[in-house]
Symmetry: C2
Subunit: 441 residues, 2 copies
């Protein structure tokens, strides 16, 4: 049977993983497919920097064009990252009738709809398992494994760098800056970590998962995003006293009418399985109306883990090529994808439990004033910790609320932060208990 030929654009970390699997595990894939899966060309602007693997120099080129122009190449793997050049390459590959595999969540979050539509028109397929959660079979699960379900909730730890930082802060009492430095030293964080720690990367991935879960176009813009760079160690410590862990979560929930779409540091119960996802690991806790809660967990990034996802996509596409199958599975797994987005609930309408840390001057009556304003805004207090009166100018008053509406919370905090006894802006964190509210049918 005619071998399936792969052209790889981007010989970076994940590119090395893919090239290594295709060259070292080729016999196993041959057995699996009944045909060979061959790495035909590898393009990268930089062919000089030493790599953790060697490739036959005859495979290498500096010109991505050599891959796009090669009529023997069936599948193009885009692993250059970034948006503009990657978008151009992917669109050209599609136009030339080549299938595409990409791990580029940033590209898909911004231009996925255009890419999926172009692919559908050209009769080619887009594999993107590697774009979310590395080698965890997440997209496969949403697209096929959970296809019988209405997805009610998803809570994801989707950025290994941010989770590594939060884990070190919680475990070692490190500050955010110390933990970030450690993550950079360990190679988990890039020199510019802002996409990771500000929540943007997590939101890119949530945008992709939401489109799969709800069968709607990708809608990155609708996601409310807060990162972890302002988190202070003291908040992780107070959280623990109340029985919670803080994780940067991607959250979406379908109430039947509107969906929630948000990324922010979140307090979850210490004994929840998601609270125990540590270090650079990723996990997604998905609740479907039939299946109930599911957790998928693993390394969310890295050379071999994301390589595993890319090659899984290659094997699926190769199976279609060898059987002459066209467009069996639409990009989102749904033939009739809704053309309109779901209405997204604004944060103001969110109803959940909250954590507040007030920087109060140590004078009598402050707590009473704060509690009064909360009460006027229909926010009732579930627990309070007021730590030792000391020499400091201000002492933290820390509170957990019963369920409250975010609009009321913001109104109350705006008033509280005007009080002369409050030294600086109050810290707000949202509390969730993944799976608790989702009722199985």
């Amino acid at each position: 049977m005619k071998p399936v030929q792969v052209g790889l654009i981007g010989w970076g970390t994940v590119g090395c993983g893919v090239a290594r699997l295709l060259t070292e595990s080729g016999n196993r894939y041959h057995q699996r497919l009944g045909t060979q899966l061959i790495l035909r060309k590898v393009a990268d602007l930089d062919l000089e920097t030493p790599r953790p693997m060697n490739l036959d120099p005859r495979l290498l080129t500096r010109q991505a064009q050599d891959i796009l122009d090669d009529p023997e190449i069936d599948i193009v793997v885009e692993l250059i990252g970034g948006v503009d050049a990657a978008r151009e390459l992917v669109m050209v590959a599609i136009a030339r009738g080549k299938h595409v595999v990409t791990a580029n969540k940033h590209l898909l979050a911004l231009y996925g709809n255009e890419i999926f539509q172009a692919a559908a028109q050209a009769g080619v397929e887009i594999g993107f398992e590697g774009s979310v959660g590395g080698g965890i079979p997440l997209i496969l699960s949403l697209r096929q494994g959970l296809a019988a379900n209405r997805i009610q909730e998803m809570f994801g730890i989707l950025n290994g760098t941010a989770n590594y930082i939060l884990t070190r802060m919680a475990a070692e009492g490190a500050s955010f800056q110390q933990a970030l430095q450690e993550a950079q030293d360990q190679g988990y964080a890039e020199a510019d970590p802002s996409l990771d720690v500000e929540g943007t990367d997590t939101a890119h991935k949530l945008a992709i998962l939401m489109a799969l879960a709800y069968g709607v176009p990708i809608n990155f813009e609708a996601i409310a995003i807060e990162g972890i760079s302002d988190l202070e160690l003291v908040d992780l410590q107070f959280a623990r006293e109340f029985g919670y862990q803080i994780k940067l979560l991607a959250i979406t929930r379908d109430d039947g009418e509107r969906i929630e779409a948000r990324v922010h540091p979140t307090m979850i119960p210490l004994d929840h399985i998601l609270a125990n996802v540590n270090g650079a690991y990723n996990a997604v806790y998905i609740t479907g109306d039939a299946v109930g809660p599911i957790l998928l967990y693993g390394q969310g990034a890295g050379m071999m883990s994301t390589g595993s996802a890319v090659v899984a996509d290659l094997i699926e596409l190769a199976r279609n090529l060898t059987h002459g199958i066209k467009r069996r599975l639409p990009a989102l797994g749904i033939e009739h994808v809704s053309q309109t987005n779901r209405e997204v609930k604004p944060l103001d309408d969110l109803i959940t439990n909250y954590y507040f840390r007030f920087a109060a001057q140590d004078r009598p009556g402050v707590l009473s004033k704060v509690a009064g304003i909360l009460g006027q805004n229909q926010i009732s207090i579930a627990a309070v910790i007021q730590k030792g009166r000391g020499l400091q100018e201000s002492v933290p008053i820390v509170m957990i609320t019963h369920e409250a509406r975010e609009a009321h919370v913001r109104q109350a905090l705006a008033a509280i932060d005007q009080l002369p006894e409050i030294a600086h802006k109050t810290i707000l964190l949202r509390i969730e208990d993944p799976g608790l509210d989702a009722a199985q049918i």
Copy 2:
């Protein structure tokens, strides 16, 4: 487009779940597939017992034959359980060119090879996602999502009843009998719980997962099985003192030459993510050479959870039917499945850490005798607990060993159990740390 017609044999718990999804969520599946997925007939010997759902009486029949004979039915769902009648039905369905979806792990563990071969010859497909781990997309993950990997290890909690019992023993200090009674009262355990608590059901599932992981025929006979019915509460308590939880695990490991294949109560570190899988939940911890460790977690059984898996299979098969695709994906995901089984390492060759509980008479010198025999058999002791000397006839001496070979362990325990100071047979448990030994490439 022509609708896809489903015939359901077995209107029990899972049958109700499947029927409910097909009748209540039909619009969503239509959108997903671009064609209708229709429940055409439901066969059960008992149509009288009240069910948690109603069906149009015109769909119902007492004769499975009505489904097998119906030329309009594309896919037969076998949910009667048991082996002989189910085997007969499945083989007839295949012979008539119908695709089959089954959640029957017992059937597949014993006759899966024959069924898969007959299906391949007849050009039909077998969906069996529901046979292991309920709605957790486990088979999908092994067959497609992790296809790039050599699977190095799998550790599975695959029986909800056994896990429920162990969870109650650990959490409440219940005896095995009390916890079993509770499981029966809660509807988690059947009147005859022996398949669940003796490890047989777990081994059926392991047999299926091993065939998928290694691309070899199903080989249930090769699995060494020990259940949990002899476990005593005191062992769970000592385990905890040493920092371990006891779980009934399905274990397989590939050392490159031979594979391990065993089901037994196993001590795993308390902080391992598998140790925190509680109640009736299932989870599998899989390590692949590329992806590293992955955990897949969810409800391992039940009306809607297993229903979710069965309907996911129906959707996949319906996709093939509407596109006129034949035999795209072999049953094990591998075109060239090895015709010979992997050599299975006998338990005697196992090298791991052990836990022993000796029932020693409270006389001086016993520990020294025991330790002497262990030493003669090249077993070195990592930790010992000897509990308070009391009024009892015998006191437990509890030990954790360094790595030892099981043949040596058995030899040593045989000698120790001959000592006059040892009141009854020594309790042996194996200790594992899933993922620790698996090195990523």
